[in-house]
């Protein structure tokens, strides 16, 4: 049996608790993700996909229920431990690539390692260069993020998400802002990483074609996972 990376049990998320405007966005979510799995998360806008992704990515906490990452119950962890777990276990790719504009492509890829270790080093630089080779952007290593196309920036974002060798990459509509060709390229890149290194992926997408190429599709509607 494959190693379990992620488990959600009866996870709920509500906002404005106790106020007239209280709204529950996620209801009793149960989800399990195994090592090396490539999962597509689909659903209409406002269905709670991004909220679910934020909770899984430890950027937000559930109102109730249990979230376990690599067997560790996250409810018992403090802010510092959550930050550490997030940095070492999870990589993020966002829809709007969100590279740090003051840094070059290589420096953006180095950033998670720099945050973790405190100081730059030859080793960190080499790892970043290798990742850029992997995503086919070694020629753009010294380009500022603002001097690259959307597709190139998203590839850099994928390389950055892989920098800490995470067990899980969360991708929130990473191809939503790209043309078909670039979208295909970015998806294939992630699929290739998934196959080669066994990194698990949780991909939020509206693109049914891409979703069909994933291992499993889960649909969220009105904050519930559809059976």
């Amino acid at each position: 049996m494959a190693e379990e990376i992620l488990r959600l049990e009866k996870v709920c998320k509500a906002y404005n608790i106790g106020q007239p405007s209280e709204v529950e966005v996620l209801h009793d979510i149960d989800l399990r993700l195994e090592h090396g799995e490539f999962l597509a998360l689909m659903g209409p806008s406002g269905s709670g996909k991004s909220t679910l992704l934020n909770i899984v990515g430890l950027l937000d906490r559930p109102t109730s229920g249990r979230l376990t990452i690599k067997g560790q119950d996250t409810a018992t962890l403090g802010d510092t431990q959550i930050t550490h777990l997030r940095g070492h276990t999870i990589g993020f790719v966002f829809q709007y690539h969100l590279l740090i504009s003051a840094f070059t492509a290589r420096e953006n890829v180095m950033m998670p390692m720099l945050v973790d270790r405190g100081f730059p080093s030859a080793e960190i630089e080499k790892r970043a260069t290798d990742l850029l080779v992997q995503v086919g952007l070694e020629k753009f290593a010294n380009n500022l993020a603002t001097n690259m196309s959307g597709g190139q920036q998203q590839r850099v974002a994928v390389a950055r998400a892989l920098a800490m060798n995470p067990d899980l990459v969360l991708a929130d509509e990473p191809t939503g802002n790209l043309d078909t060709k670039s979208a295909n390229g970015v998806f294939e890149l992630m699929r290739q990483v998934n196959r080669n290194s066994g990194t698990s992926f949780l991909l939020v997408t509206h693109n049914l074609d891409l979703a069909r190429r994933c291992d499993r599709i889960i649909e969220v509607v009105d904050g519930r996972i559809q059976p």
């Binding site: 802010d79 997030r86 993020f92 966002f94 709007y96 969100l98 003051a102 945050v115 950055r160």
Partner: protein, 408 residues
């Protein structure tokens, strides 16, 4: 990336470099503020030093005198009352009682730097048909010149005071038509007179003083004024000029003398110095405040502009403490770099103003004092102001919820 710099420094410097125009403007603002502080502080320090030099090198900082002579009713005892009007007696020139002992005591005080006994009185300087009333000051040159820098004021001749010499003010010399090497007949009210040779002419910076002042050897004055072995005043200088009044009060309480400090005898000047210091402090405070608000405003805008990047950094494992330090460092760096430019601007303005602003006689308005301490202190203060000003934006950045920040 510089391998010696930690993540926070690298990110802070890059953020500042990227916001080029914003950074340049705020550094310009800080530089102007720091420049004003450096210029004003150095100029006022120079003006104050000039004033103090003029006032305190031409008079003692503390002067001990024989106490006033008072008339006491003869029959006043317990239970006895006398309806009498006590008239204030005229003040004879008398010597300070046991002055050598008092001088020794004064020299033993750690706050005191120099002590000089002097004998002063009125006399008449006669040369040919001309005669002028003078103030005769008998001094021991080796100790007195440490207190009143007579040699600095000598404009002709030399500051020599043997028993046959006299140093006189330039106006007196003009009135008597005398110059260095000429003889003067000094006649005291006691009837004693001596013929002395003018060894030097002094300009004490005040016409009236220059018309009356004369310096002779202590023994010469004692013999002329008929007070052999006596002194009328003991002049002193102290380490902390602003503590002079407090020291004077202590001396007066412990000895049978009246002690006057320069603060008391120059009350108006002292008030002016204090007022100048207060206004300078206020100006510095307000300039520092406006610099601090400028830095805070720029960094708050930066936090808002970079909220998505802060969110991304948090998502990739950056702690709140690291984010806090990135923005605190930006404030500190802005303050430090701004202070370097500001110090250079202030120093340049000061040198220029020093060369342009002159007194009526063409001499410098203030001495050019460019102390390293002022620049180091200003840089430290500006850096600290930058750090403090960055606190609110840094805390705001550190507290950003990554979900909200990424969503924008």
């Amino acid at each position: 990336m510089n391998r010696w710099l930690p993540f926070e420094w690298i990110t802070a410097v890059r953020f500042l470099r990227e916001g080029r125009l914003q950074t340049l403007f705020i550094i310009g603002g800080i530089a102007i503020g720091v420049g004003v502080i450096v210029f004003m502080s150095a100029m006022l320090a120079g003006l104050e030093a000039n004033f103090i030099k003029r006032v305190l090198t031409s008079q003692p900082q503390i002067q001990l005198l024989a106490p006033d002579q008072i008339a006491r009713p003869l029959r006043v005892g317990a239970g006895e009352y006398e309806d009498a009007r006590v008239q204030r007696p005229s003040q004879r020139v008398i010597s300070i009682d046991q002055w050598p002992k008092i001088r020794t005591q004064m020299l033993a005080m750690p706050e005191v730097t120099a002590v000089a006994p002097t004998m002063s009185g009125s006399a008449l300087a006669v040369r040919g048909d001309a005669s002028r009333a003078i103030t005769l000051s008998g001094v021991e040159p080796e100790s007195y010149f440490k207190i009143v820098k007579v040699p600095d004021y000598v404009v002709a001749g030399e500051p020599r005071l043997t028993s046959e010499d006299i140093i006189i003010g330039i106006e007196l010399a003009k009135d008597l038509g005398a110059t260095v090497g000429d003889k003067l007949n000094i006649q005291a009210a006691t009837g004693a007179n001596r013929v002395l040779t003018i060894s030097g002419l002094v300009d004490l910076g005040n016409k009236g003083v220059n018309q009356r002042s004369t310096f002779v050897a202590l023994r010469t004055a004692q013999s002329l004024l008929g007070m052999i072995g006596g002194v009328t005043t003991i002049d002193m200088t102290v380490r902390d000029i602003y503590a002079a009044e407090e020291i004077a009060q202590r001396i007066q309480a412990a000895n049978a003398v009246e002690a006057d400090s320069w603060i008391k005898t120059n009350a108006q000047f002292f008030t002016a110095v204090r007022a100048q210091e207060t206004s300078n402090t206020l100006i510095r405070l307000f300039v520092a405040l406006s610099v601090a608000f400028g830095i805070a405003a720029v960094l708050i805008v930066s936090v808002i502009q970079r909220s998505k990047e802060i969110g991304i950094l948090r998502a990739m494992g950056t702690s709140r403490g690291q984010i806090l330090r990135v923005f605190l460092l930006q404030g500190g760096l802005l303050g430090f770099v701004g202070s370097l430019f500001g110090a250079a601007m202030g120093a340049f303005a000061l040198v220029y103003w020093h060369s342009v602003a002159r007194q009526a006689d063409g001499s410098e308005l203030f001495p050019l004092i460019l102390e390293r301490r002022l620049f180091v202190l200003t840089a430290l203060l500006a850096t600290l102001t930058g750090l403090l000003a960055a606190t609110a934006p840094a805390v705001r950045a550190a507290k950003l919820d990554p979900v909200v920040a990424i969503r924008g």
